[in-house]
Amino acid sequence: MKKVTRRSFVTTVGAASLVSTAALLDSAEAAEAVEPSSIEAPGIATPDVSVADRPTYLFFNSAEVLFVEAACERLIPADENGAGALGAGVPNYLDKQLGGAWGAGERLYRSGPWALGTATQGYQLPFTPAELFHSCLRAIDQQLAEKGTRFHEMNDDAQDAYLKSLESDGHNLDGVPSGIFFDILLKMSVEGFFADPAYGGNKDMVAWRMIGFPGAYADYYEAIDKHGVKFEREPMSLAEDARGHVHMSPDIPAHL
């Protein structure tokens, strides 16, 4: 079949309305889930959507993406051991989390009155994560623009120095101490790096492969007392385990 780039694919589709809208989803997972033969229409080349060069950002705007992609890659950089945040899809994870329930304040008690409190009392801002990111990213961009160099334009060392200044509360981001924003950015980046690929980061389980975590694989009964022996097995994602396997025992009542 003829290979097309994503850009040319979209152009082609634009001229032909017969193609399933599912094929327009360009996340890697959705693309792989589409069986090419099922969307083939007469006279239209089946696009190769296996190469998704960039995520579709639904939450971050174009200015925010420039910061987030650059910052995440400094927090977890690619090195000789393998991919960093960008290669693992961490910004995509952040985008999907912040655009969804978590960003909207899932599991966050949101009644006032509001006070910053002590460090031991934890997060006390009225912002949802989504609001916090938009607000802080806007403040960062404005502050850096006034100084003449935006974050993504800095070299690695300057980016690291700026991130350290965020971490140590060196900036007031429209009222938010920058350390609060930095902590959430770092925490979510680590989540995206190590969470199941179903959430849009840890692409191809790349972070699990680097450390040797087998993922959702769940039976070590025979291996556990073979002490000191490396567990050699391809990691397993939640998606791979979705085979309808339910643990039933003939003599144990399953449902209550």
Partner: protein
């Protein structure tokens, strides 16, 4: 408009471990029992099945099984002079919700406390003198002894099928078990789980120093088991997803696997889920409960009259239920008067990270929630405290339960929090580190307590519980002492680098420590210093029983669930054989 329902014999608030046990026994004895559970029904199938259940982000990080803190959080401050603020996200401790309660997401660590723990105040003064304790400590005896609880510990362990090795059967020390344990009437129902490499390394190091390693008593079972209720459990496969998760394999002892099927089959019992109890109702004398008022899942308000009310919610919620119901005098730290909310305690957790060479393959992800190896040589009063300046201790063990990488990626001290050096350290140490836990006691202190918050409210308009807590100096001294012992063990294990992290103040709600909140409705012999008597009956309202780790006058060196199960059977025995035959005060005040 409140709808008044038909009176029943017993209403139970919270259908977790305790509620299930009490309901099962009283329904079997012929009483009409209603169980009110605020969460939803859930079972091993379909709710606990893979692939969904092995999702670290959803269950570990986002706390999917926990009490809905958007509707019902707590407020917290370190000291009474500060303004308490809501715990807007759970981190430090994780109360569960839903059928089966917090036990659904437990690790299965099933300890007994020691005889000394139940008479801590008396025995500490006897052994170390009256001036030994710091002035702020308010520790006291339980009003029940180990010997009285032993048959109930035994029954509870056989209900769960706990896998372990006895160290002391009727006074005879047993090789391979805990020589410090108080005498038990027989061995555990099933043998210990397989020992993982972390445990084996710890065993070697601890033995070389003359200590006494033992397998962690585990209610993730080592072999198939049929409990006395006729329910069957499977062998645990060490998947590494216990704490904060439910078990898909029928291998973890939780209400769903050990008791609920029997309870739910009894027509004397009615389960109502989605029911948020607002208060226990009292009559005009304030000495007698008439039932409870609750709001159901679609917002309708009901009054459920009952002859007997059992509150069996998670520890901190038991405190709040009494405060919202005006049962018992609230504690005032300024005067030391009052009892409800008094002696709130916790657990003093420290860690020792032992970093090995890269040829030592640990495989941290192969574990159950209780498949570790530990020593009790520095727990409780198993060592001489003379001159140490503190009471209490900690078990020390290689009891790490998992290698789930969002939360578990140990790095040596001095490693940056991010960047290339962080990433390289994570990759280097993930599979070559043994984390030791030092699970320390928590002594009750005058300044630590719980009451109702004056400002913040839950989704039903009721005041939140306010927790005022910081680690007493006694416990920080204990943590420093036992952590130094843990570091010695780490070195004896052959680690290349050993980093001890003794617990330090101030207490923070931003970091997970344990979900072992205790105290606040403590038991005892004196109504001036306890909320319930030795049978867990409220002193002030004899037809209310309060059962939970909230009964503990202070928290011992071990996980609380084994003792809670024993106390529950102890209370059930008193209910069936004493109270229900002749309702009234079981102990005169």
């Amino acid at each position: 408009m409140t709808q008044r329902l038909k009176e029943v014999d017993v209403v139970i608030i919270g259908v977790g471990l305790v509620g299930t046990m009490v309901a099962k026994e009283l329904a079997a004895a012929g009483y009409k029992v209603v169980g009110l559970e605020r969460g939803q029904t859930r079972a091993t199938v379909p709710e606990f099945q893979s692939p969904g259940i092995h999702d670290e982000l959803r269950f570990d990080v986002r706390k999917a099984l926990m009490q809905d803190n958007t509707r019902e959080p707590v407020t917290f401050r370190n000291q009474g002079s500060q303004v308490a603020l809501p715990v807007r996200r759970w981190e430090s401790f994780l109360p569960g919700t839903g059928l089966g309660g917090s036990m659904v997401h437990w690790n299965g660590q099933t300890y007994r406390f020691q005889a000394n723990d139940f008479q801590l105040a008396t025995r500490t003064r006897e052994r170390y003198g009256k001036k030994f304790l710091d002035a702020d400590l308010t520790i006291q005896d339980w009003g029940v002894t180990y010997d009285e609880l032993e048959p109930h510990y035994d029954r509870f362990e056989y209900l769960l099928g706990t896998s372990g090795k006895a160290g002391n059967i009727k006074g005879q020390i047993q090789p391979g078990g805990d020589p410090h344990e108080s005498p038990r009437s027989r061995d555990y129902p099933t043998p210990p789980q397989k020992e993982h490499y972390q445990g084996a390394l710890f065993r070697k190091g601890a033995t070389s120093l003359g200590y006494h390693p033992l397998p962690q008593p585990s209610s993730n079972l080592s072999q198939p088991y049929t409990n006395p209720e006729g329910l069957k459990l499977n062998t645990c496969v060490f998947c590494g997803f216990c704490e904060r998760y439910a078990c898909e394999h029928y291998a973890k002892s939780v209400p769903q696997t050990v008791l609920l099927p029997v309870l739910l089959a009894n027509p004397n019992f009615e389960l109502r889920t989605g029911c948020q109890v607002q208060r226990i109702n009292l009559d005009s004398t304030k000495k007698h409960a008439t039932g409870v008022t609750y709001i159901d899942a679609v917002g309708r308000e009901f009054e459920q009259p009952a002859s007997l009310v059992i509150t069996s919610t998670f520890a901190i919620n038991n405190i709040r239920m009494l405060l919202l119901s005006s049962i018992g005098k609230p504690y005032d730290p300024a005067t030391g008067q009052g009892v409800v909310g008094r002696n709130y305690a916790y657990q003093t957790m420290s860690t020792v990270a032992s970093f090995f060479d890269e040829d030592v393959i640990i495989n941290p992800f192969m574990a159950s929630g209780a498949s570790g190896t530990l020593i009790n040589d520095f727990a409780g009063d198993n060592f001489d405290h003379s001159g140490l300046g503190f009471v209490g201790g900690a078990f020390i063990g290689a009891v790490n339960t998992n290698g789930r990488p969002i939360q578990y990626h140990p790095t040596p001290p001095g490693t940056p929090n991010w960047g290339k050096a962080w990433k390289q350290a994570v990759l280097k140490h993930y599979n070559h580190t043994v984390m030791l836990s030092l699970h320390g006691s928590s002594m009750a202190a005058r300044q630590n307590y719980a009451d109702l918050d004056p400002t913040y409210r839950d989704a039903w308009g009721q005041p939140l519980l306010r927790i005022t807590f910081d680690f007493p100096q006694n416990d920080l001294k204990m943590a420093a002492y036992v952590t130094a012992k843990g570091v010695e063990i780490g070195k004896a294990m052959g680690a290349k680098q050993v980093a001890g992290s003794p617990r330090k103040g101030p207490y923070t709600v931003t970091q997970y420590q344990t979900t072992h909140n205790t105290g606040g409705t403590v038991m005892g012999d004196n109504p001036k210093t306890s909320v319930v008597n030795r049978y867990l009956q409220a002193w002030d309202v004899p037809n209310v029983f309060v059962i939970g780790a909230s009964n503990y006058p202070q928290q011992a060196s071990w996980n609380p669930t084994g003792t809670l199960g024993a106390l529950t059977y102890w209370a059930i025995d008193a209910l069936k054989n004493k109270y229900l035959k002749n309702p009234g005060r079981l102990v005169s005040a």
